[in-house]
Subunit: 386 residues, 4 copies
């Protein structure tokens, strides 16, 4: 196994040499983040030995524990496209975790192997248009009914991340025994991928967030992931690692934005001195540094808890909720200050920080909006005294 710090350095160098130039073409030049681009970046990541921080060596991955992932993904996150390049971007990151944890051997061979190796992409279909399931999973309206030969799924989803061009979709549907996860091949005629939704985060991944409809979508018994009725537990099991991977990636982008801002203000003058000599600019830089340090230490502490107690332990889930809430808000503050430190240029996409900020807005909402997470954090705290 490669020592982690060396892998971090390699990842950092890979991002600088191979990803950041492409990022500029995408953000400034309007190049589309499609699968050709993804495959090209991932090929280079493999050549650089930095591909697969989330997956097992059996699938060409790096076999890292969560603590090591934290360091490597912070390095990969320095570019909006870095996590995609190393195959640690949503929804594939969470799906890799999930399939590795609960898929049976046949499912692992059929779905996990090509996903973990970057051969294909995947999607996750949970969220539904009102009055279906949003933050509250009990409102699930998509239904799977048992048939003689398997199951038939009906219902509408939206924000189905990664749907365009995916090889398969993990769909959560209600059964008489409770919510259940199904592995649905994308070429299933009952799975209809609709329009890509016009979300603010459109740069960082192929596949988009899509409207998806399941219309008499027939799947075999073997499509069931885990157990019938066990879907909510699986969704929970997927959450802590998925939330933490987002935190690692976005922390990397915050660190990059801080560097861009620091360089910008040391190179520019106003009122007779470099902007970097103005106390209020220094205050923004220091606040960024504090937010970054706190985010980093929370992520690493939670990673250690996952490694020691497992991702489904109550402690890991509590810490992941806290960390996701803090980091998503801290990253937003850092990116916002980086924009402000660029002055007028900060709202011009010639400078990447403008795009970074817009892309990051969804992070405070997906995988649990801050308010829902705070609610769940408080309930756990208050359970003690009750």
């Amino acid at each position: 196994m490669t020592p982690v710090s060396e892998l971090v350095d390699r990842t950092r160098q890979f991002v600088r040499d191979h990803v950041i130039p492409v990022e500029r073409e995408v953000v400034v030049g309007g190049r589309v983040t499609d699968d050709a681009l993804r495959l090209d970046l991932q090929k280079k990541a493999k050549e650089a030995g930095v591909f697969g921080p989330l997956s097992d060596p059996a699938y060409g991955g790096l076999g890292l524990d969560t603590r090591a992932q934290a360091e490597v993904l912070e390095a990969a996150g320095a570019s909006l496209l870095g996590p995609l390049a190393v195959n640690a971007w949503a929804p594939d990151d969470g799906n890799i975790h999930l399939l590795a944890a609960v898929a049976n051997p046949e499912q692992q061979q059929r779905y996990l192997a090509p996903l973990a190796s970057g051969e294909v992409r995947s999607a996750i279909a949970m969220t539904e248009p009102a009055p279906g399931a949003g933050s509250d999973p009990r409102m699930l309206a998509t239904v799977a009914e048992e048939t003689d030969t398997g199951w038939v799924i009906n219902g509408r989803k939206h924000f189905t991340t990664g749907a365009q061009g995916a090889a398969f979709t993990i769909c959560v549907a209600a059964t008489t025994d409770g919510p259940t996860m199904f592995l649905v091949d994308q070429d299933n005629p009952g799975l209809r991928v609709g329009r890509r939704m016009p979300t603010l985060d459109h740069t960082s991944a192929p596949g988009g967030h899509c409207e998806v409809e399941f219309v008499d979508c027939e799947v075999e018994e073997s499509a069931i992931l885990g157990t019938v009725g066990g879907g909510l537990d699986l969704a929970q099991a997927r959450l802590a690692p998925s939330r933490l991977v987002f935190c690692m990636n976005w922390l990397g982008l915050a660190v990059r934005a801080q560097q861009l801002a620091a360089e910008h203000i040391t190179g520019r003058q106003s009122f007779g001195v470099p902007i970097a000599d103005h106390g209020m600019a220094q205050g923004l830089i220091a606040d960024n540094e504090i937010d970054i340090a706190a985010a980093r230490s929370l992520i690493r502490a939670t990673a250690a808890t996952i490694d020691e107690h497992g991702a489904t332990s109550g402690q890991a889930r509590h810490e992941a909720s806290i960390t996701k809430t803090f980091v998503s808000e801290a990253v937003w503050r850092v990116l916002d200050r980086a924009v402000q430190l660029h002055g007028g240029l900060g709202v011009c996409e010639d400078y990447l920080v403008a795009r970074f900020l817009v892309e990051a807005r969804a992070f405070r909402i997906y995988e649990g909006p801050s308010e829902v997470l705070r609610w769940s954090i408080a309930r756990r705290v208050l359970r003690g005294p009750r």
Copy 2:
């Protein structure tokens, strides 16, 4: 003169009936905010009797004092395109103020009359690429030299708001007697409008923020606005009203976003009750209401100061700095909370709040970044004890 409250009602109705449908076409449907669209909206505004809150009845305007403008523009600001529709959007709003205050009769007839009536648009060319003038006007690098027949201007500008399709540009250039403002016709062969910069705020106005070059740009003596060397004073004189108009407009958008959020959460359920019954959602709604009320009262107090003491008085300028800083940050918070209250839908441009937030980011930077304004506010406070 129409009583103000009636005019406010009419403006509100006009925005609802004629502007908001077009706004949806622009934000969701991708319709371009060009001059055809502008002229159509302004024609309807004239028919509705709500055109011209910033200009004199002599030019078809409504002849309002600043206090009345505050109420009317808050109503107009309910849509991103409302201020444009009533001819109170940058940079024309500030240019109308400036020309009304300092242009000579010939200049008023030639430039102010068509601008105030909506016949043409204008641009303002102040900011320069580094190492030229940004927040610090003393760094002005564009130069005007006197010739036998007038002046010749050379230099590069960027963020020249409104440049594409404008009829004329007000250019600030250095002379041996100090910064000076020049009225340059857009068809002057020495004025070269370059690319439209890819700024985050691209929806709300035709004309964009452009790169502009002045190459041996010859103008006559009559092109001078105010006095030679008096350009900085004019820029200052333009600032207080311009900052306040922005505040009025954006406050209107914050009020709209709050309404959209309140409607959204009363109509949706989660965890067994309407989202509107969740305490943390109520907290966001209340924080919005407080920010809106504080912003509104600051704007109106500053408007009263302008009406009583003049826009160039020290008191008006101090209050306008305070108000611009507070309102730009309060509006940002309100829009951000409105996004959050929409959950996942809030970052999808099907819902307008996503676009509102992105468009608003520049407001904390243009016409004085918050940090530069805080510096100037503090210096005035500290002048007392010194």
Copy 3:
């Protein structure tokens, strides 16, 4: 009637010359804020023509509308003891409002006249120890039962502001027809004033916040204020003016703290320049100035609403809730920054800002904690869409 601005100047001068020296004796020298001190200050206030901003000329007051009160009380609030000196401090301010609005002529003569003239002090007994009434008035546990000759009150109260040394207490007690207010003479043998509670705000008023017990406390029919069962409405009617008066007073203290901080940092050096030249110190000064300006404009706008629509109008109550929430939090921020700007000296009571901060903490809680006010603000906003 004296023009307001002249009265403001006189109040400012009175505070500077007569109150601030006494304040120093109290805060630094340990002098007790007793009734001798109060009577002495109020005598001087009468001599200076600044006594009674809240009361009618019939009682020796200044007969000001709410807008004028806002200006005068901001001036009086420059010292912790200024509002007491002019007879506008809790609970007498609210009791004066209440008695003026609803007491019958006999009650006005017996209770309002000596209170408004400063002859006596009063108390208000609403809050009860758990499980009695705190923020939720429906939990009222003190009971009044009708007898042949009047009423008998039984129950325990705490945080009874002003109880030590008061001439009478307004007590809220439950009757079969609902909560009712009673005027109880302090020498009633059934009214037992217990210990003064060790609250953080102990400097600014005689009378304290006390534990009080009503034990078979007999009062006559004439003790009823307003109507039987109308106590909650009266409490509500008392609230908006009382909240606003607190805002006016505390705003004055925030303004004073800002002046003290500005003077401090202009007179001290660190790292080779006056502290006032450090950008981060300027940022704190500017944030204070913004908070003060926003607080002032909110207070004045709400005062105008009270003058135009009445203190019990829905609009006035909504605005007073917003204003109290914002101002109590803004004042806290201003005082906290003023402490910080004093460095180590800021936490030493040789410098008054330390005491100001500690005294102010309760303002975010009494007369409605911020959270309860936010809840009520949100409900009103959300009532629209519902």
Copy 4:
């Protein structure tokens, strides 16, 4: 060596059983925190095997590394008097660190041994009244001049923590070779301890913050700590551990306040449900939990850096600055929210959170005000790009 987790449990139990009852006598009952009280608590701490987390077993200490100190002192910090009880409170904690690191064997025997064992207390005399040294050590005005037999010190200090009743004072004075530290016995006739300053934090320690004067104060050569002219380096070396110990202790108090608040709101009703069911109360609880988790992970990460790279390494100092800034502000927020969650009772010293808040205010100022720390953090960040 005792395993850390067991020691943490023992410390927690010791604080609960022996310290918290005394804390109540001090905060509510007015008992004075004098040396009799300290010696009694420390005797019990020794009996419980929890005395001396900062010192060497040679002096009766526990011999912990910084990581273990973080866990133990968080437990000790659960009471305002806990750190004092285990001998980890200012200024003795920092003086123990300093003497252990740089004192010569004679000095260690004479000063460190009795200090580390709790036999005596000590003081530190750095800060001076204006125009002497505050945040800027270059403004040092106290002077030491070499004589035939040693040195003579003259100058005035204030905020000399621990001076009343100390056995010795570490004094920083200017020499021709630069700032130098001297060990001065408290019975030296040239050392005059003046009044105890009326600071907000008066509960948590004997000795106070005092005014001190050195008048022809003669000391021998052996009084020099470290090297002549090396005083600033020593002060810096003292800082990182001292800052971190404060963070550990105060984090413990924040955790306690959160528990008190959680218990309070689960046991009280308002508006028909336990306060703990109100969303805004839950929001405060969650924000506390997030602040506590971030503070804890920052402290432990910095502790690990100190253990690995040494307390005087640049990395340790940078991290300690970040951690002190974040933790001092996070603790303040937590305590403030805990007060708010107690409602009116929260500002009454019957409930300890009121006293906790007041005591904590100085933590954002001593050992480096947040603004000075932010400046130093920013400079380090900006050194990279320059």
